[in-house]
Amino acid sequence: MGSSLGPSWARRELRISQGGTVIEARELRKSYGEREAVHGVSFVAETGSVLGLLGPNGAGKTTIMKVLTGYHFPSSGTALIDGMDVVEDPLAVKRRVGYLPESVPLYQDLSAAEYLDFAADSRGLEGAGRRAAIERSVESCGLGPVYRRPVEELSKGFRQRLGLAQAILHDPPILILDEPTTGLDPNQIIEIRALIRELGREKTVILSTHILQEVEAVCSRVIILNEGSIAAQGRPEEIGETLKGEERVRLRLKAARQGDRLDARRLEALFARLPSLRSAGELREDQLHGVFSAELAFSPSSQEPGELLFDWAVANELKLLELERRRLSLEEIFVKLTSEGGAK
């Protein structure tokens, strides 16, 4: 459906010097009434990068985006877009920013074409440039088949893409996308992520998500937010490293020789021989007798847990049936970050 971006984006002249700081938040705080949603957050985002805000619901991702786009004013601290203060120069900021709010705001009574027409009007686009901009957005977001249809008849996936088309319509140097892939099916997610990566080559993109893989798939930097504060920030790989601490592996195994019956107690004794093993989870015997599965946690060491396990299995006449490296879920990351005093 949606095609990837044509070369027209790449050829466009950069309006901002490569690698410069484009978005800067300094000690941002925002309260809604009594409740403070963001407690003094500082970060920068540079041209040609995709910055991911990662965190559970209520972590302050959306609030930060609302402040950066001038929808809410910060309670204290400053947010600068291209050096301009969002409070003092909101109009200039809004001209440079394309924003897709989490709620994907669309007018139900309009067709997709009329909606983009309104967006083009609001951006002051005229003549040939206007037609080209609309065409390009429609094409990159794969909206061709529904262009004339009323918004109220569109599926969730097409609504999401129409919202995105609105955000990129005026080819803004800065894009702020609040959970851009929610409600999309897996194929659409792949397309939209590819589009965001492409856009991130020459623009400054900030996106929020609560999906860890999304950060790894598209972001060049990530900020992990928890309860309105930054829990960690860095490149996704760096964050992974800091969080590692231990490696988790899930395995299924049985005795190598036929007739050699394994039992739980013997296996536990064998586990104890594993170097750098930190803890072993509950052992479970399959319905197939003699086949056990368990989850093991290893302390960081020079040797890969997989390699260790293979050697160990061979030495103890065991056969590994399955070996799976477990990813830390976002929830586990937060437990670790908050219980161990944060990674940074």
Binding site: Y32, G33, K66, T69, G70, Y71, H72, F73, L91, K94, R95, V97, Y99, P101, S103, V104, P105, L106, Y107, Q108, D109, L110, E114, F118, A119, D121, S122, R123, G124, P150, Q166
Partner: protein, 240 residues
Amino acid sequence: MSRVLAIARRELRSSFNSPVAYGVIISFLLFTAVSLFFLSAFFTMNQADLRQYFDLMLKAFAFVIPAITMRAWAEERRTGTYELLLTLPFTEAELVLGKFLAAFALALVAILLTIPVPLAISLLGSFDPGVLVAQYLGVILAAGAAVALGQWVSSLAKNQISAFLGAAFAMIFLVFINALANFLQFGGVLAAILNWLSLAFHYEAFSRGVADSRDLAYFIAFGVLFLYLSTWNLTRRKWS
């Protein structure tokens, strides 16, 4: 200005893509015509006087204008498009003016569609076109003031229904307060204040065919005040 028109065009497109606009216009025309010809004994008076017709229009505004303006901000907030509007490059004043223009244009369409009625009646007797112009000027000014009020109420309301009810109550108060004051025979300062506040009091001269500059100033100030209050309300929300 082009950005104000962008907002107005978007509003009008939405209104005319849905049954709302047509419903409002038709009920306004039906209410005023039916009341005039069937309920108010127009024919038995045996006199071709349009004053009654214009008085009915003001009364109809008490529910027609709130029906036009109830969606203005309340609906945008419910669907989340409010956030879109406030993050597109518009100033708060442009947003308020654009919405005002759209709702005012819709009211104007309804008002202009009443023209056949006075034209038909004029066949029954001789008419002063100057009087008719003053009467229409009054109706248009009152509509503008009512639209500004209705949108301000919508900018405060949680949803369309409360926006409608709030604006309708305010309109009923402003339209009938001077009649009430007269009925209860209030005297002195209180009556003067209530009269001065009342839309109907300032409308009265227009409906007789007299355009008084004080009444003109009242309607314009009334409209500007509520447009300003709406703008202030949008700005205030960003800090909350």
